[in-house]
């Protein structure tokens, strides 16, 4: 039998200041979401494994905690929230006017290789904007993400923008087979310049060497307008060009809004989820060593549960944001717990508790002591 003091790998307990910090982040983020007309949705903790497999792809969905229901159907603790939102919209919100704006905050669970990731329980806060294709919704969600970060005091955030059709266009242009495509994606994603150059020489000997070198360089470094200009000189296929044009329009709008410093173009980002179809982005802050949020457009996911429908959204890792803020001052931690009025109940109970009720009626903080 397991010792009662032993805890399962990957579970988390929070208390004291950590709880106050997490709750305050959650509240501030939800308030920003609500300010942009996003309504909160509460989703089930578990659902059919099949649902998540459809959303994230079989491979990623294999990292779930699974169990069976009474009929023997396979269930899973939710490893992410977007698939749940997508199915809900496709089945329950058929008649609601579009666009639909939803926000959520909740834990997700991933059963990862114990040696690879320490934590298997994460808290995600995010939004989904459904039923509107195109640039307006893309810019809207970027501004919402940006406002959340600014509100939380993470002013030096960096959001790196990319578009999955940049990669898809190149892969189609090179007429890559499935396996080569996966290899190209991984080489670009890991910025493996050496291997990427070799790979291109092998699969695309017909492309001029200059253009190949240019492409390698393009996917190696993130940039600002220069990345877009550079891409326009290198890329000749229509699909990738359209993707770059889309990013250029988003970028010039963000620049006009004075947000240029906070946004980068990173054509080496090929999209972290299988269901992304357009704009994709990742969020970084100097206070934390790994990305604290990511998002993108997924115009085909909802269609796999019913009528096809455009959608874009993102989620932040509450754990990442809390980690980033834990190092700095916590203005809210002290505010939320003002000094309590000590009430001694050693003598007359009715008098002492009467005093407590009075203070509570004035919404003051009380602390009862028996001695």
């Amino acid at each position: 039998m397991t010792s009662i003091t032993k805890i399962p790998a990957g579970v988390q307990y929070f208390f004291d200041d950590e709880v106050r910090l997490r709750r305050s982040i959650e509240q501030k983020a939800m308030k920003v979401f609500s300010g942009w007309s996003y309504d909160e949705i509460i989703l089930p903790m578990f659902d059919y494994q099949e649902l998540f497999a459809r959303g994230m792809g079989e491979q990623k969905a294999s990292h779930t905690y699974r169990f069976v229901d009474r009929e023997g159907a396979l269930l899973a603790l939710r490893p992410e929230l977007t698939s749940l939102v997508a199915r809900t919209v496709a089945t329950r919100f058929k008649t609601k006017p579009r666009p639909i704006r939803l926000s959520y905050s909740g834990e997700v669970f991933r059963y990862d290789d114990p040696a690879e990731r320490a934590v298997r329980e994460f808290h995600q806060i995010g939004i989904e904007h459904i039923g509107e294709p195109g640039i307006v919704a893309d810019i809207e969600v970027l501004l919402v993400a940006s406002e959340v970060l600014t509100t939380l005091g993470l002013r030096d955030f960096r959001i790196a923008l990319s578009h999955v059709d940049f990669f898809n266009g190149v892969a189609a242009f090179l007429k890559l087979r499935k396996k080569e495509r996966a290899l190209l994606r991984s080489l670009i994603d890991r910025r493996n310049s050496h291997a990427l150059a070799d790979f291109l020489e092998q699969v695309a000997p017909q492309v001029e060497p200059d253009r190949r070198v240019g492409f390698c360089r393009l996917t190696q470094t993130a940039g600002k307008e220069d990345a877009i200009e550079h891409a326009n000189q290198i890329i000749i296929n229509d699909r990738s060009r359209a993707a770059v044009d889309h990013l250029a329009r988003i970028y010039s709008t963000l620049t006009a809004l004075g947000l240029r410093d906070n946004f980068d173009i990173d054509l080496g980002d090929t999209g972290s989820q299988k269901y992304y179809t357009g704009l994709v982005f990742k969020v970084f802050v100097p206070e934390w060593g790994v990305e604290i949020g990511s998002g993108g457009r997924y115009d085909e996911l909802i269609g796999s549960f019913g009528m096809p429908e455009a959608a874009v959204g993102f989620s932040f890792s509450l754990d990442g944001i809390a980690g980033a803020l834990a190092g700095s001052a916590r203005p809210d931690a002290s505010n939320s717990s003002p000094t309590a009025h000590q009430i001694n109940c050693a003598a007359d109970l009715a008098t002492a508790f009467g005093d407590a009720l009075e203070k509570r009626a004035e919404e003051k903080r009380v602390k009862i002591s028996a001695r």
Binding site: A160, R191, Q220, F284
Partner: protein, 217 residues
């Protein structure tokens, strides 16, 4: 997973202690990033470059990917063998072409050329359980991994395992123990690896470093 905000203005570089450290420092030196000799000979594990722009930390080779993945170091130098085994989620923009060796499957001379019995389990001793498992599983061969942390060549000699998966440089150690290479899994060289967040947040300095190093390779 804490980022290294305290050293935000410079760049923190994790190097593998030991043989690769000297070769790596030599390349950094050629790129104009010098470290004071006296600092190197001290037992300090954190050393600043002469121009104060870089902080070097010296860690166990297999820990380099961890430091970089979690952003405690922005950049690191480690062998492809260590990187593959760690499966760290990092960028690997540069092959430094040092620390060249192979990750190979080896066995006693008598078993070289013998086919694997596709049904029976092969017992493999290694410092690289993930690389070994992936290699045999891809070929449909059942494997039992015996993880060792050194002197792996002894395992088949003493009958602890049928095969080993290990680094091979010259092949001399293998030969002296009556072993031979059966298959090369991959060639390995030292890689420059970069934390995903640092790649964006310290873009200019990371890009300059990669460019400078590329020039002197």
């Amino acid at each position: 997973m804490r980022g290294n905000e305290k050293t935000n203005n410079g760049l923190t570089i994790a190097l593998s202690k030991g043989r690769m450290q000297d070769d790596a420092l030599e390349i950094f030196g050629r790129a104009g990033i010098a470290v004071d000799e006296a600092d190197l000979h001290s037992r300090r594990l954190l050393v600043k470059s002469a121009d104060q722009r870089f902080n070097f930390i010296f860690v166990k080779p297999s820990d380099v990917p961890t430091y970089v993945e979690y952003g405690v170091a922005d950049v690191g130098v480690c062998g492809l063998d260590v990187l593959m085994e760690s499966r760290a989620d990092v960028h690997e923009p540069l092959d430094l072409l040092i620390g060249r060796c192979s990750i190979a499957v080896a066995g006693r001379r008598e078993v070289v050329g013998q086919d694997y019995n596709l049904l029976a389990t092969v017992r493999v001793a290694t410092k690289y359980p993930r690389i070994a498992t992936a290699y045999f599983q891809e070929r449909g061969i059942p494997i039992e991994v015996v993880t060792l942390s050194g002197s792996v060549e002894l395992a088949p000699v003493l009958g602890l395992s049928d095969r080993i998966v290990d680094l091979v440089e010259t092949g001399r150690t293998l030969k002296e123990n009556g072993l031979e290479v059966i298959d090369i899994i991959t060639e390995s060289t030292a890689r420059l690896i970069v934390n995903r967040a640092s790649f964006h947040l310290k873009r200019a300095i990371v890009r300059d470093l990669v460019n400078e190093l590329t020039k002197v390779l």
